[in-house]
């Protein structure tokens, strides 16, 4: 019997516990734990489950607003979207598994985040993702892109939830440690939201979904350590997904949720049965007794240790109202899913595990949860970057630079990727991938829509974590605003290196500070999130990447606009920023990196009060039907934005800028700006409203023709731009 394994210092170390942490284990237990109990401590106190390095700083993030129904701490965040409905969403990382086994790693990332959302009673209505790969020249990159994209598609397409948006970066900093962050947005009635706190002495604890196998044992512990050359050996710790079963599980759970049978429900994610049962009991102040031999098993000969630590997918734990077992079982039978009563709630405050009647584990719940380590790790701020060397900029041809930029790995069209995702299933996708934010309509509230996006610019965060953190939130807010949506809240997926290194910890602290500032200024709180640390391979940390997933609401979805130019002869208006200092910012710009080959300088600062004023103005203009197209300025600045709008509309434009059109003006990444179009007769009203709102405004050109023209100088044709933009990724992937 596995419980007889002697607990040696080596066994303790293999479970990722430090000697100090093990001392605490002994104190809590009052004796040496057996192997099952040690395994439970190991996963519960892993960085992944306990947030021990990040907790202190996560607590500082703003989480409240009048429309927030549930902030961080549950399976997902919940915001009120009106008409008795809520949006429920979260983003989560699956970085390490996706590097080891890209298809299954990414697929199970999607599966896990879907469960977090439908656990709360929501029907998932959209998926998004934020992906970071290594340099295109790295020999593994093509294989990883191909596997991750196929895995995300394979899972999302089968469960029938549209994948409507996302972002992708390529950078050598992610060689050996890619980032796969998946986000799900669901919709639930406000009066039918389900939580995880167990309640009711004697109530049944029910296991539903797939059987438990030996896959994914110690996945949470793996996600809490750095990578080394031997990581490939950890492939067996990657779970295998079954989207078909997930689809059945969604339908069965939603069917059960329509009745009044559920007291509490929790999906089995990282650390499987251990963390789900612990969290439910701990939140409800209950004890729990589990008969592990009742757990549906995929193979014979499984041990209590394996059952508690398995990360087999597509499983849920439910506490039922008394007497509802038969009715609930009938629903799961109909969907051909396993259903087993595996335990009961007690008032002992302990978790007692039995195996054929014999006790194989007995742990106190609260002390284990409360005593979970919390570290105030030493940290150092990132030194301020020196001004960038801009030599050579004056001799660059803007026309050639633009073609190069729109076709570079970080700006090229992602069509090759999103065409592998079913982005239309459910029949509600109004703005498809490729714009600033995706827009879907809602079956239960005609006329209403949700907008969503994921954003982060890791090169900004690396150069200045505080400004970069601010910028990630501001850009997400801007992207929602650009389609006319009212931004509601964000989910943050914090991907960083080893927190035991003060500079890395400093990146985390700085990003949290920047995110906080932006959230407060924009009334855009954090309602859910996930932290992924130890993203290092052989001692090399990734660029810090606090990926922000954001959701906004459109009360009149018909008023939404896209980025595409709509017709000839429309006026181009630039809103936001500062007309005086415009184009001053090339530090950390894509232009500097791609054209001059330098990754230098501080990132563009974000003026949050100007940001707010400009965004509120733009949203108002869209709502009043004054704009025909809108696009925020980001990578590549003004000219890149104009090019993207031109390509989307297959229509050129002529820009007329006062004074000289130097490259800093054309490609500078000054923040808080939007390029919009309107019929010429409307321009006056827009200028007037902008001036009244104290927002910088200038007309910068007119749509028309088949090329991009700047101050009379003809640049690339739309066909040439489109060729470069659409060409890169398919060509790269064809190898």
């Amino acid at each position: 019997m596995s419980t007889a394994v002697p607990i040696t210092p080596e066994i303790v170390a293999e479970h990722g516990l430090t000697p100090d942490e093990y001392k605490k284990v002994l104190e809590i237990m009052g004796r040496a734990p057996n192997i099952v109990e040690l395994g439970i401590f190991s996963v519960m106190w892993s960085e992944h489950c306990s947030y021990k390095s990040s907790k202190k700083w996560l607590k500082t993030l703003p989480t409240k607003a009048p429309w927030v129904i549930q902030g961080p701490g549950e399976n997902a965040g919940v915001v009120d979207i009106g008409e008795g409905l809520t949006a429920i969403f979260k983003m989560e990382s699956h970085n390490h598994p996706s590097f080891i086994e890209p298809y299954q790693g990414a697929a199970t990332g999607v599966g896990g985040i879907l469960r977090d959302v439908f656990t709360m009673g929501a029907r998932p209505v959209a998926n998004l993702n934020a992906l970071r790969f290594g340099a295109p020249s790295d020999p593994k990159t093509r294989h990883l892109v191909s596997g991750v994209v196929a895995g995300i598609g394979g899972y999302g397409n089968c469960v029938g939830v549209p994948t409507v948006g996302g972002e992708v970066n390529f950078h050598a900093g992610f060689n050996g440690n890619i980032l796969v962050n998946a986000m799900t947005v669901g919709v639930a009635p406000k009066d039918r939201i389900f939580y995880s706190a167990a309640a009711g002495l004697g109530n049944s604890v029910v296991y539903v979904g797939s059987k438990t196998g030996r896959d994914g044992i110690h996945g949470a512990t793996m996600a809490s350590a750095e990578f080394t050359a031997e990581t490939e050996d950890k492939r067996p710790t990657v779970q295998v997904g079954d989207p078909f079963t997930e689809k059945l599980l969604i339908e069965a759970c939603l069917e059960l949720m329509a009745t009044d049978a559920i007291v509490a429900i929790q999906d089995m994610g990282a650390a499987g049965l251990t963390s789900s049962s612990f969290e439910m009991a701990s939140k409800g102040g209950m004890g729990v007794e589990l008969a592990l031999d009742s757990v549906p098993m995929r193979e014979v000969g499984m041990s209590p240790y394996e059952l508690m630590l398995s990360e087999s997918q597509e499983r849920m734990l439910i506490v039922l109202e008394p007497g509802k077992e038969e009715m609930a079982k009938a629903i799961f039978d109909k969907w051909e899913l396993d259903f087993a009563v595996i335990g009961t709630l007690t008032d002992t405050g302990r978790m007692v595990l039995t195996w054929n009647g014999a006790v194989v584990g007995d742990l106190p719940i609260d002390p284990l949860a409360e005593a979970s380590p919390e570290y105030d790790r030493p940290w150092e701020p990132t030194p301020k970057a020196a001004d960038p060397d801009l030599s050579g900029a004056e001799s660059v041809s803007w026309s050639k630079a633009l073609v190069q930029l729109v076709g570079c790995p970080d700006m090229a069209s992602r069509r090759w990727i999103w065409e592998q995702y079913d982005h239309l299933v459910m029949g509600n996708t109004l703005q498809r991938p490729g714009g600033d934010a995706a827009v879907i309509r809602l079956d239960d509230a005609p006329g209403k829509g949700l907008a969503m996006t994921t954003d982060c610019t890791p090169r900004y965060v690396k150069a200045d974590p505080v400004e970069g953190g601010k910028q990630a939130v501001a850009e997400a807010w801007r992207n929602l605003t650009a389609v006319g949506a009212r931004p509601l809240a964000i989910t943050d997926n914090m991907n960083f290196g080893n927190p035991e290194k003060p500079l890395i910890m400093g990146q985390f602290v700085g990003a949290c500070q920047g995110i906080s500032e932006a959230c407060l200024a924009l009334e855009f709180p954090v309602v859910s999130g996930n932290v992924s640390l130890y993203n290092e391979t052989n001692g090399q940390a990734i660029p810090p990447t606090p990926a922000i997933g954001a959701v906004g609401v459109l009360d009149d979805v018909d008023s939404s606009v896209s980025i595409a130019f709509k017709g000839e002869g429309e006026t181009l208006v630039l809103l936001g920023g500062s007309a005086e200092t415009e184009g001053s910012w090339l530090g950390q710009s894509l232009f500097l990196r791609e054209i001059l080959g330098r990754e230098e300088g501080p990132p563009p600062p974000v003026d949050l009060s100007a940001e707010r004023a400009t965004g509120d103005l733009v949203r108002g203009l869209i709502g009043d039907g004054l704009l025909s197209a809108c696009h925020d300025l980001s990578d590549g600045g003004l000219l890149a934005a104009a090019a993207e709008m031109a390509m989307a509309g297959s229509l050129g434009c002529a820009l007329t800028l006062d004074g000289t059109a130097d490259v800093a003006r054309l490609f500078g990444e000054d923040q808080g700006r939007y390029l919009v179009t309107c019929p010429p007769e409307t321009a006056e009203a827009i200028l007037f409203r902008a001036k009244a709102a104290g927002v910088a405004v200038r007309t910068v050109g007119v749509t028309g023709g088949t090329a991009l023209v700047v101050n009379g100088e003809a640049g690339p044709s739309i066909a040439d731009l489109t060729g470069a933009h659409e060409g890169w990724l398919p060509t790269f992937m064809a190898g």
Binding site: C158, K247, E419, H423, M426
Partner: protein
Amino acid sequence: MKSAIVVFPGTNRERDMAKALTLVGGTAPTMVWHGDADLPQGLDLVVLPGGFSYGDYLRSGAMGARSPVLDAVKRHAEAGGYVLGVCNGFQILAESGLLPGALMRNRDLRFICRDVHLRVETADSPFTQAYGAGEIVRVPVAHHDGNFFADEQTLMALEGEGRVAFRYCDERGLAAEETNPNGSRDNIAGILSANRRILGMMPHPENLVEPALGGTGGRPLFESITEALS
């Protein structure tokens, strides 16, 4: 028109289909569970919608074609009833023998979701009569296994009897290798049964029936059935 949509475990476009049928036809369809041995009485149209029936872990549609409800669908078809199979529904119809041919993995081996252009090859069917013959329409595809294959004899019969309903083409109507999204023989996107009352097609007309969704290329298909069955 009295219609029903068959829901298999893993079906995922039943709501899209129901919305389109309700929007254009005016009446909501009934949902039928895969384990049911019978269809509702007095049914005009049975729809097999898109998705991944039984996970499609065998060949796509192979399990669906052997489910209890398919016997009832076959009886409905033999009695002259109307059947529409879209995407996974087309795969099931092909696997069940209600339509000839097979749907193989896409030529490029990848799932593909994008708008395509279709040339309406015949307006002489209850599913296409509201289109003009030769009309070019835009609707999306979303599949991994849409590469239509049939032997020469079958292809000749389909062409000879005017049973090719839709062909992939470009926006001007040219059907060529470059406008074939999945490698289908002769760019075939949808075919009719000999009595023209069964249509199987890979594209999703139900996803483009309103300007808000980006187009109305699929709408005439539902207008056709509604008119034929009213």
